[in-house]
Symmetry: C2
Subunit: 373 residues, 2 copies
């Protein structure tokens, strides 16, 4: 994996992350394909709208259908019919947010499946084994997602656990490298809660180990925006300049603008897809709830400035009708629009950085993104 | 509308039904787009897989979003983004099968909405008004769907009501023709229950009035297959030779083969789409339930002989995974396959008729269609 920075505009930057399955233009938005499908989309539609990379969830795919099944079919790429790069998370966040009975030890985490309550174990080696079986292009080190709020002492312990696990993830891949040719790149995940000194320590310990990229985890987990922004602006610029910087799970575009302004390169979030299914649509004039009565007979497109399939072919009246009738096509057309909007936004943002006007781009969009119902 | 018969093979026939929005190859299968969407499909996908015409439901669109809204947007075609012909049913069958409190008079039917219990009225004039507002290419006369079983006396009354309403539908369109240019073609619907003499009388009364096509209604409403086949084979060959013959709501392919063998030309049914969403898939080796455990790790396509997008790109293991996880993509890929299978079956059937081997085609498929779990 090769990362090259193309343009810088103060701390914001554009770059190209080259993988064996294609190039990723950064700042990049990664649509979330939890169970091996970006909900309601086909992979052709994702490629057509310019998604360079998608994210899949290790925790979910381990439980269903099982990584062994996916490995035997040749990995995630043929299984889900996606030719581009795939980033897999480590499962750490889902164990924290979805499963019951987490029993944490140095070895890893024992937990119960959120589906059937069955007992499972994930640790650094297991998380790597699964991600290798999936054929991931970018694997994430197994971490403990520090909850919010976390006492200082807890955050220290959580950080130390995460650093130790990160080292073991790297060692696992080093051992595997002796037997295999195609292994994923590996990103380390920084924790440390809302404590700046711990964030710094976490980052330093990861850099000491050495990773292909660095991620900030444990953000957007319930803390006030100000605290999140404080951590982002503190830690972003300190992360290794020459490596991709990934802000995990943050996808509100106002937050993305803050993070890109502080040098972050990669993002993932279920917001565009989940909101789409709930009828909340992003437009160049702010958010719209498609179920509003005023759209009942509205022949105009959702966003006259949008070039997506939905906006080129359908009226608000039809989109409202499909949503009210809970039609599957509603979820398709809404998701297609929201993802197109997100990917288009990222494209415009990259252009703004390349043209040295990221600051005015951010100001303009901060206003638009406040609009909505 | 122009109908020309191309080939005959005993009673089976192929033809072309020319409409201002495109030609329909018969025997034709019409995917059902109840609320203005063939569930889970885009209209581009329908066109790509060779659907010449789709069916939309007057009853459903009258209740949601309302025919006035669709008329104001320019009709169903721009509303749902479908350029080909659309056949709309009359609402008679849905009033019979879905709504509560049917109060039938000479004027029409008073009924309660299946959605919110609100009181509504449909009669021949209203059904025509709605279908004209929708911009239908082929409208169906408003009928009373005779229940099964029906006493002879009830079937007589029902038939007389239907004939009277059919005449009023035609008169409505004749009056409208003085003011408008684009009016739908009109098909009459035969009733008569399982009584052959009444079926014959119903047909004669419709032919007396004169329609662009003739449909058999009130079949596949709970009667044994033998009774349905008896009526189909009795009445099919008596229907006007030079007009399209439409067997409403019958879509089990074994029934279709019987009907085509007795000269029917047009079919609609929710079977391929509804079964798809429930995980029952049609293949050239019989029906398959995709949820079966044996497919858990099966890397092979659903149907190796099928050229559809689903079979060209996905394994049974992935289709099973998506189905078990209730993913939207499961409904998309399954529906796409089942509709492709149906449309492909109709294409092969037309070819068999043209090559004078419909009888052996029927025998071969009768065996395949018995297979399944």
């Amino acid at each position: 994996m090769q990362f090259s920075i193309k343009h810088k505009d103060i701390s914001a930057r554009t770059g190209i992350l080259e993988t064996s399955r294609g190039a990723i233009r950064t700042p990049a938005f990664m649509p979330v394909g939890t169970l091996g499908t970006v909900k309601a989309m086909s992979t052709d539609e994702l490629a057509d709208m310019g998604a360079d990379i998608i994210l899949c969830n290790t925790y979910h795919l381990y439980l269903r259908p099982g990584h062994d099944i996916i490995r035997d079919i040749g990995g995630l790429h043929p299984f889900i019919n996606w030719r581009g790069p795939i980033l897999t998370d480590s499962g750490g966040f889902q164990v924290y947010s979805l499963s019951a009975l987490r029993r944490i030890s140095d070895e890893g985490v024992e937990f119960r499946s959120h589906i059937d309550g069955s007992l499972h174990f994930l640790g650094p080696e297991k998380a790597m084994e699964i991600q290798c079986a999936l054929g991931s292009d970018i694997a994430m080190a197994f971490d403990e997602c520090t909850p919010y709020p976390a006492e200082y002492d807890y955050a220290v312990k959580s950080l130390e656990l995460t650093s130790g696990w990160a080292r073991r993830c790297k060692e696992y891949l080093n051992r595997e490298a002796e037997n295999r040719t195609a292994l994923p790149a590996l990103f380390g995940i920084m924790q440390g809660g809302m404590h700046k000194d711990l964030r710094k320590r976490s980052l330093e310990e990861l850099v000491d180990i050495g990773f292909d990229g660095y991620a900030a985890g444990g953000l957007s987990v319930g803390e006030p925006k100000e605290e999140m922004y404080d951590i982002i602006s503190y830690i972003g610029p300190q992360m290794p300049e020459e490596r991709p910087r990934y802000l995990m799970g943050v996808g509100d575009l106002r937050d993305v603008l803050v993070a890109v302004g502080n040098g972050f390169d990669m993002f993932d979030c279920v917001m565009p897809t989940r909101n789409a299914r709930n009828g909340t649509l992003f437009t160049s004039r702010g958010r719209i709830s498609i179920k509003r009565t005023e759209f009942k007979a509205d022949p105009s497109p959702l966003d006259p400035d949008c070039g997506c399939y939905t906006c080129r072919n359908y009226s608000k009246a039809y989109l409202r009708h499909l949503f009210m009738a809970r039609e599957i096509l509603s979820m398709r057309l809404n998701t297609l629009h929201n993802l197109y909007f997100y990917l288009d936004f990222f494209g415009r943002m990259r252009k703004a950085i390349e043209e040295g006007r990221f600051s005015s781009f951010k100001k303009e969009w901060d206003v638009i993104l406040e609009h909505g119902d």
